[in-house]
């Protein structure tokens, strides 16, 4: 409840009509100012130490526009994005299934725990190289290698989620004779949702970094391939252009897909006051 003292009505009225708008804009403004400061310090640094290896932001932007105009950017971004999506779906599906099984059955967990730790600690590079050697320089090997890198992380997170399942809901579902599908939809999934969200968040960031390595080592398109190409040409502006373009896309996915979905999935927690 807002309290107003009489006599200051006009003044109070003006501030209250102004400040909510300002408050609503503050987070956006903060980000804008912070990005502006980053841009200015980058420009300043590049101007102070002019070098081909450290281009100013304007040149990166120009390169980005050129690449976009030629269609190169969209093609390579698309290729990388498709690989990220495929490996992500594969890793989340397989990792969740195994994680839930291990979290539910203690015997299986005791047996396979060593495997999980083993795979968790194999360097990404080793898996990629082995995948290319065993399955050839093809798309299946590339996507599979990325997924295998991510699966152990998903297993560990989802296993924790399955261990934390509340027995009372399962018992309620038993008494009220929920069908298998209902149990999955209304009991299991909502309880695992936070773990799933955590696994996806950390997953998507890890996956796109590994996809670049996979592309660098054995593919002839994608952001990773382009970065390797421009590395040989020592074209830092292009390398940064591709990096920033992809980061921007990931940011858009986060803002337009992940966050609205999460808001929907957690609406029952009640809105903050």
């Amino acid at each position: 409840m807002r309290q107003e003292t009489t006599g200051e009505g006009e003044h109070a009225g003006r501030t209250t009509s102004f400040s909510p708008l300002l408050r609503a804009l503050t987070p956006g403004l903060t980000i804008a100012v912070s990005l502006l400061v980053l841009y200015l310090s980058w420009s300043f640094a590049a101007a102070a130490w002019p070098s081909r290896a450290f281009p100013p932001p304007d040149r990166v932007w120009q390169t980005l526009l050129n690449e976009a105009a030629s269609g190169e950017l969209a093609y390579h971004l698309g290729a990388t994005l498709a690989r990220v999506a495929a490996s992500f779906i594969l890793a989340m599906a397989i990792g969740s299934a195994i994680g839930i099984l291990l979290g539910t059955y203690r015997r299986a967990d005791q047996f396979f725990n060593a495997w999980v730790i083993l795979f968790l600690n194999i360097p990404a590079l080793v898996i990629i190289v082995l995948a290319y050697i065993w399955f050839g320089l093809n798309e299946v090997a590339a996507i599979g290698a990325v997924a295998v890198n991510k699966i152990p992380n998903v297993i560990v997170t989802m296993r924790e989620g399955a261990r934390a399942l509340d027995r009372r809901y399962g018992e309620m579902a038993f008494v009220y004779r929920f069908s298998r599908l209902d149990r999955f939809r209304h009991i299991l999934l909502p309880q695992l949702q936070p773990y799933f969200a955590a696994a996806s968040r950390s997953g998507i960031a890890l996956i796109w970094k590994i996809v670049l390595v996979v592309e660098l080592l054995g593919r002839s398109n994608g952001v990773g391939f382009q970065i390797y190409l421009y590395f040989q040409l020592f074209d830092v502006a292009a390398i940064l252009a591709y990096t920033l373009a992809f980061v921007a896309i990931m940011l858009l996915i986060e803002l337009l897909l992940v966050q609205p979905f999460e808001r929907h999935a957690t609406r029952w927690r009640g809105r903050p006051a």
Binding site: Y169, E171, F174, V175, Y176, P190, R267, W268, G270
Partner: protein
Amino acid sequence: MQPVGAAAPLRVDIAEKTFRSAEGIAVKALENLSFEVRQGEFACLLGPSGCGKTTTLRILLGLDQDFKGSFELPTSETGRIAAVFQEPTLLPWRTLEQNVRLGLPKARRNIDLDWLFKALGLVSVRSLFPAELSLGLARRAALARAFATEPAILLLDEPFVSLDEQTASRLRYLLLDIWSARPTTALMVTHNVREALMLSDRIIVLSARPAHVLGYFDVRLPRQSRNPQVMSDLARSFSQKFPDVM
């Protein structure tokens, strides 16, 4: 009144139920516990805290199958058991109404439940999530879920515990109203003698652990006439019959 679909009584005959603690020590919870609840009757299982009342209910619900003995549940065309747990156990991620409807079989999910929500005073909150409900409202929702299934038997595990006395007694009247409208065999666990005297046709008095039946106390008065005067008379004759319980 002829109870809906109830045909057989509830017969319980548990020879033994033993828990094993983490250190391997065996604790006998139930021993030679046998009783019967006639069809359409509201019975209370009354006993000291920790005597194995909840364990008995869990066995009847099929949640605990590690025991010696047998039991027989009443049947009806729905053939369902409904439970009201000690905690409301509503799914926090579903609205109150979804919670109630999820308890129903698929074919009956869309039946008209307005009478039930109206009777329990839940009409204005049916689209809220459990986190937005008070404990009293959540308990009412749990009752709604149980009654919506039109069960052959209703098992209640201290459904009014940890509410303030005023709310608890309002809920007891609500329970009576709705149970009288759709009577069904009911077994309620409680350690509150007054609650048992107010609600039940028959009180089954249990001993301390390992629980067995000490005796029955039948209340043959119609519930409408159980006013404060009558209640204190009932309480007096109850404490004469079971001096150690009160």
